[in-house]
Symmetry: C2
Subunit: 160 residues, 2 copies
């Protein structure tokens, strides 16, 4: 049976639950700082996302209002593809005990539908090559690993 | 000797030159429509970029005011990395006769500096795996191909 899940825009009250999800991951544990209170950089970032009409932070709730999934959508106007909009997906996490239960698939169905509503011709994301299960998951959704995802770190959290 | 180049935000008057650059490329030729007048979708996209404080379309001019390079920067607020901003680079093109002359390197020095000014901890891009020279170029700048770049096309120009 499928879980009854609710997809909605995140609010500031969700922020501790979101950071907890992001930190509960081998890569995220090195990057995040889940303390009480949270470092103010998190709420500043939340405010920047929340006021930007081209960014949407989406959470997934159980009926008990527990946040078990998060992702961020960025809608990007581009000159390429005859002036086409694209949607970038970042910061995807599902709570450990809900993985392999179809939650991720439903989150992406939701995100792809949202990208269509926003007139995007393309949904794109990058996935760390040390996460082969994630890459297989995205390929199962129809994503094609046609590109190299290149990163240049300029310093900051998690990079000594 | 280095070319004397000017880096600046694109204006609407640059749009035909930008589309000509994008179309003059094996992949771009299939995606773009360089006609006179241009399809209105290009100027609509330009307007969307121009009014968005988190998107910057940058062109490179010769002293004769010929546009020989273009790239787009998108500044993205994120919850990940303790609420860190990242810069996404898209739509990079250098005019054929100016390639291998250090123009691309100077465009990226400029873009990376701009990302630092905007407080980004990370610059990211994806590069088509059928462009090995481009990937080597990015690696020479310090980018690491740590991620797969996955794309899901939803239909539109260049995808019949």
């Amino acid at each position: 049976m499928e879980h009854a899940l609710d997809f909605r825009r995140a609010t500031l009250a969700d922020l501790p639950a979101i950071v907890a999800l992001l930190a509960d991951d081998p890569l995220g544990a090195r990057r995040e700082k889940f303390s009480d209170p949270l470092p103010p950089s998190y709420s500043e970032a939340f405010a920047a996302i929340d006021r930007d009409p081209n960014n949407e932070l989406v959470v997934v709730d159980t009926p008990e209002r527990r946040v078990i999934g998060v992702l961020q959508l960025t809608f990007i106007p581009s000159i390429t593809y005859q002036g086409g909009w694209r949607a970038l997906v970042e910061g995807v996490r599902v709570a450990a005990e809900f993985r392999s239960g179809g939650v991720g698939q439903r989150m992406f169905s939701w995100a792809i539908q949202r990208a269509r509503e926003r007139g995007c011709h393309l949904v794109q994301l990058t996935s760390d090559k040390t996460r082969p299960d994630a890459i297989r998951f995205y390929e199962s959704l129809g994503f094609v690993a046609s590109h190299e995802g290149l990163k240049l770190h300029l310093g900051g959290p998690g990079r000594a």
